[in-house]
Amino acid sequence: MQDGYTTADGRKIGGVVMEMKNITLRFGGVVAIKDISFDIREGEIRAIIGPNGAGKSSMLNVISGFYVPQEGEVWFHGEPRPQMRPYEVAQQGIARTFQNIALFEGMSVLDNVMTGRLSYMKSGLFSQALWKGKAEAEEVANREVAEKIIDFLEIQHIRKTPVARLPYGLKKRVELARALAAEPKLLLLDEPMAGMNVEEKEDMSRFILDVNDEFGTTIALIEHDMGVVMDLSDRVVVMDYGKKIGDGTPDEVRNNQAVIDAYLGVSSD
């Protein structure tokens, strides 16, 4: 299992990037995650699905270091990750989007995307205060990367708009842009397509696939639209009430009786 596999459409999936080992997370009396283990491999699109309140978002929060699980370990690049602050996790190359959009509302789209590049900008306070030397060069260099991503996600026209004014769907896209700007190794997406219509979902799917393809980014994805999940993902983890009830390829999961009972219902196609 350690050596990866080849997907149905012929993409090569590498070794394990991140492994969750026996994670348990409690909030007071509520057990949000109960003893869950799974892995994410290099280059794959890994979906996490499950009914509402199953603990999916909590799982992403554990990966980002925002929630600290009471039990279990997170292994990253083959070694256990020591306890870290979320921003340190981000600096290791893990970027994400949020379920309830968490954009910086007071800033323009461009600035939001540029914050995604913070870990690449290292000029000192003094240089920035004078806007000379390293600060300016760095700003321009990173701006180029940001603009590339803006182009890629087709949001050039709103570059200077304050995000507070944007409609929901565009905000989601800006959030994706911000995450991509970090050029992450592992990208965590929490319901990126909620609140979109089919056409927009198609666009979003295309972006996700392209990111995965062009940059080789590993992606973990939470989504409720089964069509999207089944089409995009290479492997799927299914959670229910904090427990893992299924893990495998889309087809395996689709035919797993426990998953059907708990989540998909009969009418899934």
């Binding site: 929901y168 056409e199 799917s205």
Partner: protein
């Protein structure tokens, strides 16, 4: 499956009438450019359209929630039961039976789930017993909420919050519900369940719905009539069944082409930006 929309029996009284409204945010941003629609009593009317088309704005214009967002209806009128409600306090509108379920949940974070539901009954004066009965009804619709009734709404999951928002609206025993993206972030069976709930409330209690939805598929399945909104204008309307058969709608909103539904993997190199208006 397709018979949910019985176009024939909704040709009754028009409850809500939106006439050519124009909405401006912040004094400068023109968002709605003359939207008109009619919501018949006892029907389910769907308002469809892409991101930023102006669905939410339309609903807020109706429920008078725009003012607190520095938005303003500058032209046109909104009539409920033939009366202009433009100047009314949102609370007064709720008392008249129009309630909105807002996009993005908007739960009262610090109140418990149950308290959230009870605030829904704020305008009611028909006694504790009736309210308690309705609370039971909501718990029946959403058993998950019953489990979490004592937790603060701020700590419930996204889907649970959506249920709270729906349940809270139902607690007011509304005559008309303006539903803004009820399916967002819900697990598939729950989406179906919510629409079933909408349908059964509509049928059994005669509650009228105006539904803004991105999930066109679902919306057209349950609605009787649909409007399609794009860039602040209504570009198409018609009975749901007809809309569903319209080839453009099929392609752009239902994701179906002649060969049936195509995989999300296959759209990659294929771009289209065709629009009725642009």
């Amino acid at each position: 499956m397709l018979d949910a929309a019985k176009t024939s029996d909704v040709q009754t009284e028009t409850l809500l009438e939106v006439n050519n409204i124009e909405v401006i945010y912040n004094h400068v941003i023109l968002v709605l450019k003359g939207v008109s629609l009619n919501v018949p009593k006892g029907g389910i009317t769907a308002l469809l359209g892409g991101n930023g088309a102006g669905k939410t704005t339309t609903l807020k214009a109706i429920s008078n929630l725009l003012r607190s967002e520095r938005g303003e209806v500058t032209k046109g009128s909104v009539k409920y039961r033939g009366q202009d409600v433009h100047e009314e306090d949102p609370a007064a509108l709720v008392r008249q039976g129009v309630i909105q379920v807002m996009e993005g949940r908007h739960c009262f974070e610090h109140l418990t789930v149950e308290e959230n539901l009870l605030t829904g009954a704020y305008t009611r004066a028909d006694g504790k017993a009736n309210i308690a009965a309705d609370l039971e009804m909501v718990y029946n619709y959403f058993p998950r909420l019953k489990e979490r009734r004592k937790s603060q709404a701020g700590y419930t999951s996204g889907g649970e919050q959506q249920m709270v928002a729906m349940g809270r609206a139902l607690m007011s025993r509304p005559e008309t519900v303006l539903l803004d993206e009820p399916s967002m972030g819900l697990a598939p069976q729950l989406v179906e369940q919510i629409f079933e709930i909408v349908k059964s409330i509509n049928e059994q209690e005669g509650v009228t719905f105006l539904l803004a939805e991105q999930n066109t598929n679902m919306a057209l399945k349950y609605a009787h009539y649909g409007y399609i909104l794009e860039s602040g204008r209504i570009v198409m309307d018609g009975p749901a069944a007809e809309l569903r058969e319209n080839p453009d709608v099929k392609e752009f909103y239902l994701g179906m082409s002649d060969e049936g539904r195509k995989s999300f993997r296959d759209v990659r190199s294929y771009r289209r930006r065709k629009r009725w208006l642009s």
